[in-house]
């Protein structure tokens, strides 16, 4: 694998690379590119929500024939929320987050020269790239991109008569997602095999950093649940193109009865959420893993309750596959099932609470190094708690009845998985940037980035709970049809202003990121004084990661401020001293 003699060309080094470090950077940059599109879309539809009749030049400039005099059409509004959701959930927070950091850290932190299969890893990235391209192309379809919501419930997503976006736009969405799933499966299988087989001498499973545990378990959830979404998408393609009736029955639209008979949209909901809910944890667990590592390093303290953290990750992963029905309490499924799903859903609160308490205890009596990555990690714990707690309302079938599909849900999941996961991603970028690019990011810009984002995120999503509790449904193009909602208009303006503030703050990040790649201060080998193996590799990337032998591991990764050691960190490669407690 470590054939140093092999001369690399531009193409094998920067494009069709099989080196996990390069693939990781490719994932990150593609993820950032998709993230810019996704966030920009949210800016556009927030303008519409706050000022529904107002004309905006920016809308005129970007939405072409989907707008009239700077006011967007209802169809494109629905398309924007649909694609915003799809891009953020899958392309940014699944591929961008997991793809970047699993690829970068798994080999480096377990002590492997590369992924188990560098070739499959490369294929995985290029499939992801292809699916991104198709998704972007779908934005330019004449009738508009997919617009049935990111959950693409049929019949709306199956019938172009019902909404124009369900024509070619929806076809491209499905093709893109099918390729995306293939990419995601190849990646996940590679992660699992690598973690199980390629750990260096002494790297027992109980000595793995929590990042690796999180990526490993995330990959398992992905392998279990993504194929189900693929089958759901395939059946939908069949219904759309080949006249089958898996999801459709008894439909009368635009004056004619369609031939479909015997299917049920509820089947699609089951299949979709069998992935859809685990997906929340596919997005969140890597962010939590990153946070564990960063909070411990920057607190100069061991992560509190290492084994409990592993146990919680496994418990959350297991439970995540048996809770999907809480998205369907009012779908018409048997109320008894609702009872079962309420029970399993509220169980998830226990390991989640354990994790939150453990993070807080890790901070206690620490010596906190306030690097930008640390700020984002603390921010993550805050939004994880704020967003997680309202899950007690939504996970309870009885309470879900009246807030289901309102803005209360939007506020809940944006805090708990959207903002939390994106904080985890930012934390990871600030922390491992020196490992990726051999240079450092600017910390002052990092501080500005964090504080503006933190204020904006709560400014957007805290008030949003209240308009949900006022009974306002999500995905409404405008609230002007209901005098009942006239009093939420002001709240929506406040939310939009904070959203624009938060969106603009990301420019600071983009500038910092791209300028630092070329102009950042040269990194030292172990800038954060961290214990894990990735900081024992040379700053300049080499194929195979370590120039000589792969170092052996003698201890767990969290010996920070351990009594009996001079420094406040002890690298995993340091042998135990005589009589030292291995922790």
């Amino acid at each position: 694998m470590s054939d140093h003699h092999h001369k690399e060309t531009f193409v094998t080094k920067y494009i069709f690379s099989t080196d996990h470090k390069m693939i990781s950077k490719q994932y990150l940059v593609t993820g950032i590119f998709m993230g810019v599109i996704g966030v920009f879309m949210s800016m556009l539809f927030r303008l519409q929500i706050a000022w529904p009749e107002k004309s905006f030049t920016i809308i005129e400039a970007f939405l072409g024939h989907h707008q009239d005099g700077g006011v967007m059409s209802p169809d494109i509004y629905l398309a924007l929320v649909t694609i915003h959701g799809t891009i953020m959930v899958f392309f940014v927070l699944t591929a961008g987050l997991s793809g970047t950091f699993s690829n970068l850290l798994i080999p480096l932190q377990i002590g492997a020269r590369d992924m188990a299969s560098g070739f499959l890893n490369m294929v995985s990235y290029w499939l992801f790239f292809l699916s991104s391209i198709i998704m972007v192309i779908s934005l330019f379809v004449e009738a508009g991109p997919a617009s049935a919501g990111w959950t693409i419930y049929p019949p709306l997503s199956a019938l172009p008569q019902a909404i124009p976006g369900s024509g070619l736009g929806m076809t491209l969405w499905l093709v893109s997602m099918a390729i995306f799933i293939a990419s995601s499966l190849l990646g996940a299988l590679n992660y699992i095999v690598t973690v199980l087989n390629l750990r260096t001498v002494g790297m027992k499973m109980t000595r793995l950093p929590l990042t690796i545990w999180a990526f490993f378990i995330t990959a398992i959830i992905g392998v279990v649940s993504f194929p189900v979404l693929l089958s759901a998408a395939l059946l939908l393609i069949f219904d759309r193109s080949f006249g089958t009736s898996f999801y459709l029955s008894d439909i009368f639209i635009q004056g004619e009865v369609l031939h479909y008979q015997g299917g049920s949209p509820v089947l699609f909901e089951h299949l979709f959420w069998f992935l859809g809910h685990p997906e929340v944890y596919i997005v969140l667990l890597p962010a939590l893993g990153i946070t564990s590592e960063i909070i411990s390093t920057n607190s100069r303290k061991p992560i509190f309750g290492y084994r409990a953290m592993i146990g919680s990750i496994i418990a959350i992963a297991f439970l995540s596959t048996i809770v999907w029905g809480h998205h369907m309490f009012v779908s018409g499924m048997n109320p008894f099932l609702g009872s079962v799903f309420t029970f399993t859903t509220l169980l998830i609160a226990i390991p989640s609470a354990v994790k939150a308490f453990n993070y807080i205890t890790t901070l206690w009596k620490g010596n906190l190094q306030m690097n930008p990555a640390m700020l984002f990690s603390i921010g993550l714990v805050s939004t994880f708690i704020s967003g997680g707690l309202t899950g007690l309302v939504l996970g309870d079938s009885a309470l879900d009845i009246n807030v289901h599909d309102t803005y209360f849900v939007v506020a809940h999941f944006h805090l708990v998985m959207g903002v939390s996961a994106i904080y985890g991603m930012f934390a990871g970028v600030y922390h491992w940037f020196p490992k990726m690019y051999g240079r450092m990011m600017n910390k002052t810009l990092g501080y500005w980035h964090f504080w503006i984002t933190a204020v904006a995120a709560y400014g957007v999503f805290f008030p949003m709970h209240f308009i949900g509790l006022a009974g306002l449904p999500r995905r409404y193009y405008s609230n002007t049809a209901f005098p009942l909602f006239d009093d939420v208009a002001d709240v929506n303006i406040v939310i939009t202003m904070f959203a624009i503030l938060g969106g603009a703050a990301q420019i600071i990040f983009l500038a910092n990121f791209f300028i630092s790649i070329y102009k950042g201060k040269k990194a030292t080998q172990n800038p954060w004084k961290s214990n894990t193996l990735e900081w024992t590799t040379p700053i300049e990337h080499i194929h195979g990661n370590w120039p000589g032998e792969i170092p052996a591991v003698h201890r767990w990764p969290y010996d920070y401020s351990k009594p009996g050691h001079e420094e406040d960190f002890v690298c995993q490669t340091t042998p135990l001293m005589d009589g030292e407690d291995p922790s």
Partner: protein, 335 residues
């Protein structure tokens, strides 16, 4: 408001440019003791902002919330909601305080060594068992309400009403004298028979199709939902009621209205809310609004999803009966 937005934007852009210029100062990459101090204090300040925002929202936005429940089942819902919300707020207040306080208190100081504290089975047991016990209570309470709301089998003499959804309007059908809905299927839709009622079914003849939903106070209403095209969701927030309308199947939800429209208009919270709305409407030069119950669509269904509504009128049973008797039956409408 827009002016403020532009001012905010300008400030952000200005700060961004100024800061990006400072990136030339390559030395600032790792937090120094001074940074630890500043950022720790900022976390304390952020904690204050956080609690301020929470309190502000609760005070300022309480007037936009839904008024008291207009159904008997909804009253149980509201109590469960209050209990859950109280619990959430207590946990939120404590944990966020600890988080921001620790971030402030333990901000890094040169030369200080952190406490090596990796594990405590006692602590972990405490914060596994306490949430487990609290959640067990919450699950049991929640499920008792859920079963109560969803099980309408023991209702005495309930009113059966079909609510029918299509892009982008609602229709309704009352079961009539026999209190049994006639069969229906989209394949029977023809001309004035817009809900596809099967006129060969004798139960169908006395059914009453309407474009407005009237409900009697104090009598359990069992709703049967159908949709003719895509998924819709029948959302009646004032009654704490919601159920999806699914093409190809009939779904169900039931509640007992407990306040007539007139009574709800005189409810204190409704009056406050309506006053707030009318103040806004007056500023815009629009007609004053009078409160009415609503059925609205809460599942994305197409371009006019945002304007798919039907008025609901709750009245005393005698008024309801005379209204229903004045409506034409299916037999009268179709023939």
């Amino acid at each position: 408001m827009t002016a403020l937005l532009y001012i905010l934007l300008t400030i952000v852009v200005a700060v961004a440019i100024w800061q990006i210029a400072s990136i030339l100062n390559l030395k600032s990459v790792i937090a120094t003791e001074k940074d630890n101090n500043t950022q720790g204090i900022l976390f304390a300040a952020f904690g204050i902002f956080f609690y301020g925002l929470m309190i502000f929202s609760f005070v300022k936005y309480s007037s936009i919330l839904l008024p008291d429940s207009a159904s008997l089942e909804g009253e149980r819902y509201d109590t469960l909601y209050m209990v859950t919300m109280l619990l959430i707020l207590v946990v939120q207040a404590i944990t966020q305080f600890l988080l921001f306080y620790f971030a402030f208190k333990y901000r890094g100081v040169k030369g200080r060594k952190a406490l090596f504290y990796a594990d405590s089975h006692k602590l972990e047991l405490i914060w596994t068992v306490i949430p487990a016990v609290v959640l067990a209570g919450l699950v049991l309470y929640g499920l008792s309400v859920w079963i109560d709301v969803m099980d309408a089998s023991d209702a005495e003499d309930p009113l059966i009403v079909e609510v029918y959804a299509k892009q982008f309007q609602w229709e309704a059908r009352y079961a009539g004298e026999d209190n049994e809905l006639g069969l229906a299927n989209v394949r029977n839709i023809k001309g004035i028979n817009t809900m596809g009622v099967d006129m060969t079914d004798k139960n169908a003849l006395d059914d009453v199709p309407t474009r407005e939903l009237h409900l009697p106070k104090g009598r359990k209403v069992i709703f049967k939902f159908r949709s003719q095209d895509v998924l819709h969701s029948a959302y009646m927030p004032h009654f704490r009621a919601q159920m999806n309308c699914v093409p190809g199947m009939v779904t169900q939800f039931a509640f007992t209205p407990s306040m007539t429209t007139e009574e709800m208009r005189l409810n204190e919270k409704t009056i406050t809310k309506v006053e707030g709305i009318n103040k806004i409407r007056a500023e815009k030069g629009e007609d004053p609004y009078e409160f009415d119950y609503l059925l609205l669509c809460n599942k994305i269904c197409g371009a006019s999803h945002y304007n798919m509504q039907m008025k609901i009128i709750v009245e005393e049973e005698s008024e309801f009966n005379s209204w229903l008797n004045s409506q034409k039956t299916m037999a009268q409408v179709v023939q």
